[in-house]
């Protein structure tokens, strides 16, 4: 009895360690001390612009963030290249994470963010509740979402592509996905991309990238569809995988903001500024640019469309 309890406990603890990543309700993260890293990432965030006191004073949303002393960000800590928690430092790194850190620096003069993990089901609600100030979460701008929240940007043009095992020869582009089993992340635009472009594919979804890659390498699925940058990064880090074809969607990512809070104009102005001074491109190079060849793309122009 005692020994069976011990065994059960050992298994339980191991599993719990595996699981906490996808089940943790709320973790603080990303409160950074700029310049401490050696990757250049911290330096890029630390050299991003800071708004003048007058600019903050003129905007009610920015004023509230400044008075709180922290930017409350809705995001994730599981998205490679976009917003991944470094287990040794506990800090978030990635393109989305970096932008949120730059925005907090813009308003507060220092990087101070607090992460609330969000999912596709909670993003709009958290913004409407004012539980977060902004959502940076590979958040596609769609008309139905715009009815509930404001979007600053777009700040990135995403394109879904296809990852397969190296020995796969019968999948070359999106048309070949018909009748195949394809995995994508549950909360991602991959789900809608597949529904539109490969309606005859059998779609399986898992919560995060690691699980999707496992499903592919364990031969549970034939292909993995999501933003090309993530797939390229997987192809580099996992032997035996390759990206096929070119991106078959064009998905604008925006920064989710509370509706009619005045935040949209302020954040768009900040976006224009970090694009103009090269911070956007430097951050791209340090994150997505580590797996995508070539120089940083021309950023999409933030549009003040309603």
């Amino acid at each position: 009895m005692t020994s069976s309890r011990t065994l059960a406990l050992a298994i339980l603890l191991t599993s719990a360690a595996l699981i906490t990543g996808c089940a943790s309700p709320s973790v603080p993260g990303g409160s950074g001390n700029p310049g401490s890293g050696s990757t250049g990432y911290d330096d890029i965030v630390a050299s991003a612009p800071v708004a003048s006191a007058a600019e903050i004073e003129a905007n009610p949303w920015a004023r509230a963030v400044r008075d709180a002393g922290v930017l409350r960000v809705g995001g994730t800590d599981l998205a490679r290249l976009w917003s991944l928690k470094d287990p040794t430092t506990g800090k978030l790194e990635g393109f989305d994470a970096g932008l949120s850190q730059m925005l907090s620096r813009y308003i507060l003069g220092e990087v101070h963010t607090e992460l609330t993990p969000v999912s596709v089901d909670t993003r709009e609600t958290l913004l409407q509740n004012h539980a977060v100030d902004a959502v940076f979460a590979t958040y596609s701008i769609t008309p139905k979402r715009e009815a509930k929240v404001d979007f600053a940007g777009p700040y990135y043009q995403s394109g879904a592509s296809i990852l397969v095992r190296s020995d796969t020869t019968n999948i070359r582009d999106v048309a070949d996905l018909a009748g195949k089993t394809v995995v994508t992340q549950s909360n991602s635009t991959g789900v809608t991309a597949l529904r539109e472009h490969a309606p005859d594919a059998h779609v399986v979804t898992f919560p995060d990238n690691v699980q999707c890659v496992s499903a592919l390498t364990q031969r549970r699925v034939d292909a993995y569809v999501i933003d090309e940058s993530i797939l390229l990064s997987n192809a580099v880090s996992t032997p035996g995988l390759k990206v096929v074809g070119t991106p078959f969607t064009s998905d604008p990512y925006g920064i989710g903001l509370p509706k009619e809070s005045g935040a949209k104009a302020f954040v768009n102005q900040w976006l224009s500024r970090i694009i103009a001074d090269g911070s956007w491109a430097r951050l791209w190079k340090a994150t997505i640019g580590t797996v995508v060849e070539g120089s940083a793309p021309t950023p999409p122009v933030p549009v003040p469309a309603g």
Partner: protein
């Protein structure tokens, strides 16, 4: 955008059917496992008792989500690639079977020792005594705890979406990606689970009344 009500509704209905299938098959398998484990735990054979105890103490104490992730992502690494629905049903059955075993075992305490002695003196063996005398009484006595096990199977089945099976919760998430209905859809799904669980509770009361009459 054009109306997608039809597709959304059929997605939700399919998700609900998947959830119910997982629950019913998982619960049936849990009952079988529970009966077997209970038979082991009261058996006079020491190794069998040990197996029963080990099974119950192991699976009663593992969170369902951990077990699901271990089965779906761990087993393939040792060469066992179960289809996702089979994996979910197995996990549901293993965990809830442990609880069913304990529910049935507690029901067994209601069987008078005299009834067992009488059965043995009539020449019934261990298996026949269990089958004809002990289990019928024990199952009746453990009806309400077993309804709880059913409800726990139902609610546990909602974790299927975490490992890629599109149940009601998974269907709601897929629709939310496009429609941005947010928590309203989740609240509706919660309502459906409550309704099913209440139905199961009511069925348990009806069965209990019917059986106590005989």
């Amino acid at each position: 955008m054009e109306s997608t009500w039809g597709a959304d509704l059929s997605g939700l209905v399919n998700g609900l059917l998947t959830a119910l299938t997982l629950t019913v098959v998982g619960f049936a398998a849990a009952l079988v496992l529970g009966l077997l484990a209970a038979a082991c735990r009261v058996s006079p054979v020491r190794p069998l008792r040990a197996v029963g105890t080990l099974y119950v103490e192991l699976f009663r104490n593992i969170p369902l989500l951990c077990l699901l992730v271990l089965i779906v992502f761990g087993l393939p690494d040792v060469g066992v690639l179960l289809p996702l629905t089979i994996a979910v049903v197995s996990a549901l059955a293993a965990v809830n079977g442990a609880f069913a075993c304990e529910a049935i075992r507690s029901g067994m305490n209601a069987v008078p020792a005299g009834a067992i002695d009488a059965a043995r003196s009539l020449g019934l063996g261990y298996g026949a005594t269990l089958r004809l005398i002990v289990f019928p009484v024990a199952l009746r006595r453990s009806l309400q705890p077993l309804v709880n096990v059913f409800i726990s199977t139902l609610l546990g089945s909602s974790l299927a979406s975490a490992v890629g099976v599109v149940d009601l919760i998974g269907a709601a998430q897929i629709i939310n990606l496009r429609e941005a209905w947010g928590l309203a859809l989740f609240a509706a799904a919660a309502g459906v689970y409550v309704a099913i669980a209440l139905g199961a509770g009511a069925l348990g009361i009806v069965l209990e009344r019917r059986w106590s009459r005989t």
